[in-house]
């Protein structure tokens, strides 16, 4: 079974149409042309589907980098460490 971290990385690749080596921990909203405001909406929809969570406007704003997205999902019950 795929681990959450793999699902998380795959979500970035699917939503933003990135190659595997383009998904790094430094990735942030607005710093690549793919992760712009519209790409962000697709990314949020993908994350919601993959992890079965609901992200409202405030959380969408908080999810502004690869790292902050993990922290946010972690708070919503997605475990990236002990799975």
């Amino acid at each position: 079974m795929m681990k959450n971290i793999e699902k998380y990385r795959n979500a970035f690749m699917d939503a933003l149409e990135l190659e595997e080596d383009e998904v790094s921990e430094d990735l942030a909203l607005g710093e690549t042309s793919e992760w712009d405001s519209l790409g962000h909406m697709i990314l949020i929809s993908t994350m919601e589907d993959v992890f079965d969570v609901s992200l409202d406007s405030e959380w969408m704003t908080e999810f502004d980098s690869y790292q902050s997205g993990m922290q946010l999902l972690n708070r919503l019950g997605v475990d990236f460490v002990n799975e």
């Binding site: 712009d36 405001s37 697709i42 949020i44 993908t46 969408m60």
Partner: protein, 483 residues
Amino acid sequence: MTFISIEFLIFFTVIVFAYYLIPHRWRWVLLLAASYSFYASLSSYFVLLLLLSTAFSYSTGIMIEKQETKEQKKKVMLAGICVLLFFLGWFKYFNFVNDSIRAISAYMDWNYAIPYQEIVLPLAISFYTFQAVSYLVDIYRGKQKAERHYGYFSIYFAFFPQLVAGPIERAKKLLPQFKVEQTLKYENLSYGMKRIAWGFFKKTLIADRLAPIVASVYDSPDPTGSQIVLATVLFSIQLYADFSALSDIAIGCARMLGIKLTENFKQPHLAVSIADFWSRWHITLSAWLRDYIFVPLCKGRKKRSEIYLVIIITFLISGIWHGAAWSFVLWGLIHGFYRVFGDHTKHVRGKMATFTQLDRSPTLHKWMKIATTFLLVCFSRVFFRSDSVTAAFENAQLFLTPSSWRPSGIIEAFELFSLLDLVIFTFFFVIVQLFHYIERKNASTWNWLSQRPAFARYAVYVLLIVSILVFGASGQGFVYGGF
């Protein structure tokens, strides 16, 4: 009693004095009485509708909260929103829909008998309905508790500084501020008065001086292309000065009562793209549309083409919100198209900037983007300003005709101004640009000014007041006051 009147200034001064003199527990009564009096002075006929909408939203909020399941909450919320939108639809859109059906029926040779109805648009209905919708949705989403104190809730619904034309506020931001005891602070009074004066300045020295000039072209049966170009650019300046002045006065009045409202403008005519423009223009409406239309409609969308459709729908709603006319619908669609086209071509435009080496001169590149965005916004405003779709297309055609942009024609079009009017407008326009320049270099022009020597500060204040008293033009209503 409009904002730009001695009556309002006297009324507001009395309210401020009374507000700080009476105990906190009675202030909500004062604010509520002031809000309803202010509304009645502008639109006494529709106070009852405001009261009904308030009572309905108050009770619906509590009903949503009392439901046990999410599904039940959703049903009550949707029912509540439908009722609120029914009122908005009836008063604002009945004739628009009715006229459209009649025109289609005439074209198709159908029998359609419902005549035009004399329906007056209740003042501020678009603004307070949107506030009410956000309140109900936030309760459903669990972000807002249903307010039990009917007085505080009623002030949220009808707070007079922002009732007529926003900023559109959320209950989460306003309600707690009404409940906290606001103490008399020099900073609040001083800042509030400056913002009000600045609003008066923009309204009377820019907006209302330009309004008759713009109207002389748009009301003319045969304007020249250059006149349309000039009048449209001037209308953009007028609209910004008019609406931002309204927000300045609202923010200033609220601040004098210790209440902080949301900023509604961030120098929108310096936006580098249409997306950027909408993050700087009527910010509270953009945020409302984002949170209650765009984001919910984006749920589950995983293709850019699907998001594009949502953008178009959102701008369509924005257009319809602004006015019940096809020209506003088209205006909204034009902005939707701009936004989608901008996104779809961003890679190509990036490559073109590299190919032409424009990206090596960031300042030039930025100003070219600002100029392009401004012209696109101006073009859309041809539809915003024109009285009918037919006139809008005629004016748009003139705007797009290359000969309309001949410098000699534009210079000739300046004859719309008398020499005195042109000198006065130019002088005050430069002052506004100077204010904006200082704002860009510092966080706040008012803070920057407060650090200058006393004589410099007071010279500016005297200049503001004397300019308004001597050169201020008034008598024009606020453009957004009609929405």
